[in-house]
Symmetry: C3
Subunit: 347 residues, 3 copies
Amino acid sequence: MAPPRFTLAELAARLGGEAVGDCASPLEGVAPLAEAGPAHLAFLANPKYRGQLATTGAAAVIVGPKDRDATAKPRLVVPNPYAAYARAVALFHPAPPVVPGIDPRAAVDPSATVAPSAFVGPFAVVAAGATVGERASVGAGTFVGEGARVGEDTVLHPRVTIYAGCVVGARGIVHSGAVIGADGFGMAPDAGRWVKIPQVGRAVVGDDVEIGANTTIDRGALADTVIEDGCKLDNQIQVAHNCRIGAHTVIAGCAGIAGSTTIGRHCLIGGGAGIVGHIAIADGVTVSAMTLVTKSITQPGTYTSGGPLMAHADWLRNAAHLRHLDRLARLARALPPQGKTDGHDDD
Amino acid sequence: MAPPRFTLAELAARLGGEAVGDCASPLEGVAPLAEAGPAHLAFLANPKYRGQLATTGAAAVIVGPKDRDATAKPRLVVPNPYAAYARAVALFHPAPPVVPGIDPRAAVDPSATVAPSAFVGPFAVVAAGATVGERASVGAGTFVGEGARVGEDTVLHPRVTIYAGCVVGARGIVHSGAVIGADGFGMAPDAGRWVKIPQVGRAVVGDDVEIGANTTIDRGALADTVIEDGCKLDNQIQVAHNCRIGAHTVIAGCAGIAGSTTIGRHCLIGGGAGIVGHIAIADGVTVSAMTLVTKSITQPGTYTSGGPLMAHADWLRNAAHLRHLDRLARLARALPPQGKTDGHDDD
Amino acid sequence: MAPPRFTLAELAARLGGEAVGDCASPLEGVAPLAEAGPAHLAFLANPKYRGQLATTGAAAVIVGPKDRDATAKPRLVVPNPYAAYARAVALFHPAPPVVPGIDPRAAVDPSATVAPSAFVGPFAVVAAGATVGERASVGAGTFVGEGARVGEDTVLHPRVTIYAGCVVGARGIVHSGAVIGADGFGMAPDAGRWVKIPQVGRAVVGDDVEIGANTTIDRGALADTVIEDGCKLDNQIQVAHNCRIGAHTVIAGCAGIAGSTTIGRHCLIGGGAGIVGHIAIADGVTVSAMTLVTKSITQPGTYTSGGPLMAHADWLRNAAHLRHLDRLARLARALPPQGKTDGHDDD
């Protein structure tokens, strides 16, 4: 089936904004400025690519207000070109509709509730008392545990696991291999052995949340682990028991968040970052890639740890001194003050 | 089904310790001091929460000997309150019993041995020659490979993979997405290509081991990879081929251990830590979160690498100097000795 | 079934090289020098083990040309002993042959194409329009999405996910839990919410690629994510959308590569390393374990970031100064030049 086509006029009607120039030619898809062909819609979202406006082969371009006259190409002028690009791609590549029905090879418990408009794929399991909402999709081989709830319009891709009692809200997307609600990591030392602390809380995921492939979100120990509405989690992220991730926070791949930590709203957590347990991070905080956050952060801003990249030979030389910063500092402090120095505020 | 209730007297009988005060009122569950309600059992395991003893709404409290008289509430006085709390939660939230039997939708090879008291879920596979012990549970969609062995009372949650020939001991718990016995990462360079080294050892997991969601433990190259008894592994941990993890060692989420490394008994490996290959770590070592261990550790203690968290602007300023520590050090050494300095012991 | 046996003469015929000494005795397997028994073939690939030549209990040894006369044992003299060892192990431990046929419990769409010589296991799914090549193996519970292609002689272990439209080339190995082609992590901010950017590119994996357990390779946003021929990826690696990994590059476990980054050919990326997005890494680059690469690398060589391992008490002392390197540097620069210093080249 051929992908749909849209004229600039049709795009303006659906995406908003002002169509300038030829509004009647059908466009066949979206492409970056540098790669766009004569039937493509391109977009200028990042100023560093403005130069490509002059050379792009695109038929039309999405631009912001201040670039309205930076090109003679047919163009859609919108306040937020990047968001308009996202929505344009969705128009040209509509998601395949959910085909209602339970595959005969699925295992749906008689006491489970699957909405008539929902899909359950082959070899999927919907256990006793679980509910699957309207138009939701439970992919092949996906497991929805006893009493778990899957909200309306949510897509669970193949091979997802939702443990008993856990919740995924509406309009969510959970990618393959994700595990929601496995036991949190809790045990008590006793005479040289570890006694497991049963994890009886839930993992509760809000609405409009996307969870990446092989990401794990543990259930709480006594209370719940909570992912608030609108959060976006990339692949291979670990969220430990009793964490709370604030609404609309974005977490990049391979980040790990230890137990009972709360992260604010609208935060950006970088790839491979680590956040220790039992701390609180304020709203609007950005954590750099592979940074370890070892204490609570109370102010918005960007925070970083770790050393800079070096040729290995340089690193070896520096690393030796790094072990002796203490001596260096004492030498320096022993000098008579000279030159401008800032105050001494070790913390 | 309502959760069970216990009086303080019943708890003392099951958990040991001395019941003080009202021993006859039924308790309905366990909660932290700050959140406990009038039918809850709370616990004081961490001294920093002692102040909450005065304000908790709990009906009764688990305390240690020295807090015996720190509250007038009915209380269970035990030597190890945290372990008693763990066991109390297990009493109030008993694990659902394993329902014996092989689901008709499972694929169990005729040459496999599944104990009559074991459970095998829908779409699970138990391959030729594999054995599943008494009261073990093989979750939906879990794969137990040819000749693999699953010990008695072990729970494999849904969607676990045990490769051919591998072993999980008794009373284990393996969470969804864990992969035990995939090929170790071994290849030989040959004329600009890589020749795969077949991995013919096994992954052997001892008794009383818990393995978290999406954790991977590779099989050995020629010999076995071994996880000794009582180890607890969190989610998304990678254990490479031919490692040996000593008994009762705990590894937090996202840690990675490279090939042929041995870790001692009763170690604590922090979240996101990395341990290079072909080294040995002594018993009783603690490795901090996101620390890279680059050489063998022969003494117990805590070890750390990496830099402290900073506001990004500070980090940028410091990072530039970090590249030139060498010059700084030479400048400092060129000074006439003054002030107290420690010896020079670069290593 | 007993493993095959080979004489040194037979091994020379299959592996090449010169057989010296007793060529007629059957050998029963391969073992390291230190562990080899009287029927074992050992190998000397790493000079540091040369001393073990004198003490090994092996029946025969694989050695390089310059060790031809370093032992009196029967020996196979080859240019590349490590590669010969790899191939010898494959001879003694042949992979079980693929048994052609589609398990009756698999779900293969009528419009899919499965080669007659291929295997499809129980509870596997091969969706509409997908193709599975000659002698390929689709493991139990593995999902091959709509229109996806699996090349000839490729092994997909149990519980792999290949999303719609994605490609795995010939002679590949994909381990359990790997997810190829999940959505890349792309969204546009819009009035405090995130708008999903549909990911309509593919993930395309070349020939002779091995992908480890629970590794994730996202599909591209508009263009494709590409893993070139001969790459070897360990477990739990994250490759984000629109990356290109050059041929024969090796990536160790837990590494993460952010979006739109290109890595050259014959690179070695260390375990737990992180590589930020939108950069380029030259051919022949080695990145150390847990190093964060924050900018493009144009020259071959080894690159490292991060601090050295210390006893935690030392780390605490040093970390305090690390926050004040700036002051240290200014103090040092304020001194009259003395001693040899290198040029000032902050970057």
